[in-house]
Amino acid sequence: MTTLLIVEDEIKTGTYLKQGLQEAGYDVTLVNDGRQGLEHILQQRYDLIILDVMLPSLDGWDILRQMRMARHEEPVLFLTARDNVSEKIKGLDLGADDYLLKPFDFAELLARIRTQLRRNRSLASGMYEIADLVMDISRRSVSRSGTKIHLSTKEFVLLELLLQRRGEVLPRNLISSLVWNINFESDTNVIDVAVRRLRSKVDDDFSPKLIHTVRGIGYVLEIREE
């Protein structure tokens, strides 16, 4: 089981984070204090550490510095309400680390955690198959039950993303960032429209339905019990 450590002094945030991540299938330890957090890190191996930047007794940056000095190379995900983090992350030059600005979508957090954990695993498979859907990346072809489906370039990339992360709920801004390289929220429902159009090609005439809307969160590709 994947082990996560959360160091977060805000009780409510910590509790909900822990609950959410446990329900997502992780083994989660929650600590409310910086010094305690560092002790945990130095004593035990975690797969990923989630650090609040502002902490009592020892802040997130100090924890990171000290654990790196002790040759603990676990990936770290920072949570912060202040948005001057990106500069600092660059300054640290520790590619393993990422950050999320509060408030963030929980789905986004899950996606980032998965990205961090996946970092060293290669994904180079040229073929995806789920139910009767077959996607061949190298030949740029998609078919269901042997029927060829014509997709535009971006629809193809979108489907590839959903397949790559099947079972994961992908929030809209993650989709727009990964497919269109648009890193800010658009005032429009363009992602919904794009997914709807993809769905009409991939799902409308076929069964089972594969692309599902998770209300208020995003989209997921999976086989669901009907």
Partner: protein, 465 residues
């Protein structure tokens, strides 16, 4: 060390200085003029006396026998009534033939003997604190009836004149001293009176606070030197008032904008909790809450972005990229949306842009979003990039019914939405254009809007690469 002299002391001192110089100069000139006047009077007097003595000598000589006693008597007769005068007739080897001292002439006559003095010029001789003007004339031996040349000397004691000038000098000194004092006082008074408008301005300016920023200083009755200052001051007040008004409007807008989602959240949650419900209803409430919360989160991050840009805290990357490539990507992004409601995005031209690509993309994307949202159905939206005179332009134009001359000016107001219906779910917080403008301005550019009939054009202009 540099001292901060007050304007009053500076002006008083300068005034006093000028007055002083004028008076001193006047006094010096007066004394000099008087001296030269006295001298010319002496010259006339002495020349006359020399003429007289010459005539006496020559007429005596013509008799063939020079009677020195008679000459002295005639000389005394001619000079009687003059004071401070001396006249002598002597041979070149200093044998005195005749001389005359008027009573009280204090000078030793030997002083005029010898070759020390020049002929025919007025000279001043000094001895023991006495001064006198002397003139000597030479008469040829044949005219004087002697074997040798004869010298006639006339001297005039300048004691009276010197005393008069000395007294004048003393008197002028006292006058000047008094005038210094008086002119400092007058300068101070004049400055006080002259600077009165300035004090008035100070008084008015110090009365201006946040509560009466709308007050202006009256420029009409002011001296022309102060007018530009006051006009500038007033226009500064104008700007301040504007900024302050926008700021307080912004704060109240924020409060107002927060109130709606917060009130929705409270109401929905309270209603949901007021009695037992099935899971589906709870889910519905949570979903609805999530929407409101999402709006709040968006609003706070947008406002943070604006606050940062206003304080110049945006960290800008500096990339060079093609406007065409950027717009093509955005067209691709919006393609599902435009395809669905039958609008088309058309692209023309190209320009080389320099700046933070992601931020400019956000700015352009906001403009395209607006164009899609507020254009008429089935409309064509034209994106045109061009480069000229060192500037890169992106024009985004479309037909619209939502934008009119009336609301054109309000477009850039924060929280302003083109449609008053406020359908929140598809609408942003109304900060899109503010953010776009902030990004463009952070790139030293401008964002402008033009309305020509029913065609609205937004133009982004930034320095080209």
């Amino acid at each position: 060390m540099k001292r901060n002299w007050s304007l009053t002391s500076r002006l008083s001192l300068v005034f006093a200085g000028v007055m002083m110089s004028v008076w001193l100069l006047t006094s010096v000139l007066l004394v000099a003029a008087l001296g030269s006047y006295f001298r010319s009077q002496d010259l006339t007097l002495l020349t006359g006396k020399l003429e007289l003595a010459t005539e006496l000598l020559e007429s005596e000589a013509r008799t063939g026998k020079l009677d020195t006693a008679g000459l002295a008597r005639k000389l005394a007769d001619a000079m009687v009534g003059h004071s401070g005068l001396y006249l002598s007739i002597r041979t070149a080897d200093n044998q005195i033939l005749a001389d005359y001292f008027s009573p009280g002439f204090p000078f030793p006559a030997e002083r005029f003997a010898g070759e020390a003095l020049k002929l025919n010029t007025l000279q001043t001789v000094e001895e023991d604190g006495w001064r006198c003007n002397v003139m000597i004339k030479k008469i040829g031996a044949e005219n004087a009836g002697r074997h040798r040349d004869v010298l006639i000397t006339a001297a005039y004691d300048t004691g009276f004149h010197d005393e008069f000038i000395g007294q004048l000098k003393e008197w002028l000194m006292w006058l000047n001293g008094g005038l210094i004092f008086l002119s400092v006082l007058l300068g101070w008074l004049a400055t006080r009176i002259g600077l009165r408008p300035l004090n008035e301005i100070n008084r008015l300016a110090s009365a201006i606070t946040v509560n009466n920023l709308s007050e202006r200083l009256p420029a009409r009755y002011l001296p022309s030197e102060l007018k530009p200052t006051v006009v500038e001051f007033n226009s500064m007040l104008e700007r301040l008032e504007g900024s302050f008004r926008r700021l307080s409007e912004f704060s109240s807008d924020i409060a107002h904008e927060l109130r709606t989602p917060v009130s929705n959240l409270m109401m929905q949650t309270q209603v949901a909790l007021s009695r037992e419900r099935d899971a589906a209803s709870y889910r519905e409430v949570l979903f609805s809450n999530l929407e409101e919360l999402g709006r709040l989160a968006r609003m706070s991050s947008d406002m943070l972005f604006l606050a940062k840009s206003e304080n110049g805290l945006l960290a800008l990357e500096n990339e060079i990229f093609s406007a065409k490539a950027e717009l093509e990507e955005l067209i691709e992004f919006f393609e599902p949306l435009t395809a669905e409601n039958g609008k088309t995005l058309m692209l023309e031209g190209d320009a080389s842009m320099k700046g933070d690509r992601l931020m400019l993309r956000r700015a352009l994307s906001n403009l395209i979003t607006n164009a899609i949202k507020y254009s008429s159905d089935g409309a064509a939206i034209l994106l045109r990039a061009e480069q000229q005179a060192g500037m890169s332009f992106v024009h985004i134009s479309n037909r619209t019914e939502a934008i009119t001359q009336e609301n054109l000016g309000r477009l850039f107001d924060r929280f302003y939405r083109g449609d008053s219906s406020r359908q929140h779910n598809t609408d942003g917080a109304g900060l899109g254009l503010s953010i776009t403008r902030a990004v463009v301005q952070a790139h030293d550019g401008t964002l402008q809007v033009f309305l020509d009939g029913d065609i609205v054009t937004f133009t982004v202009k930034i320095p080209a690469a």
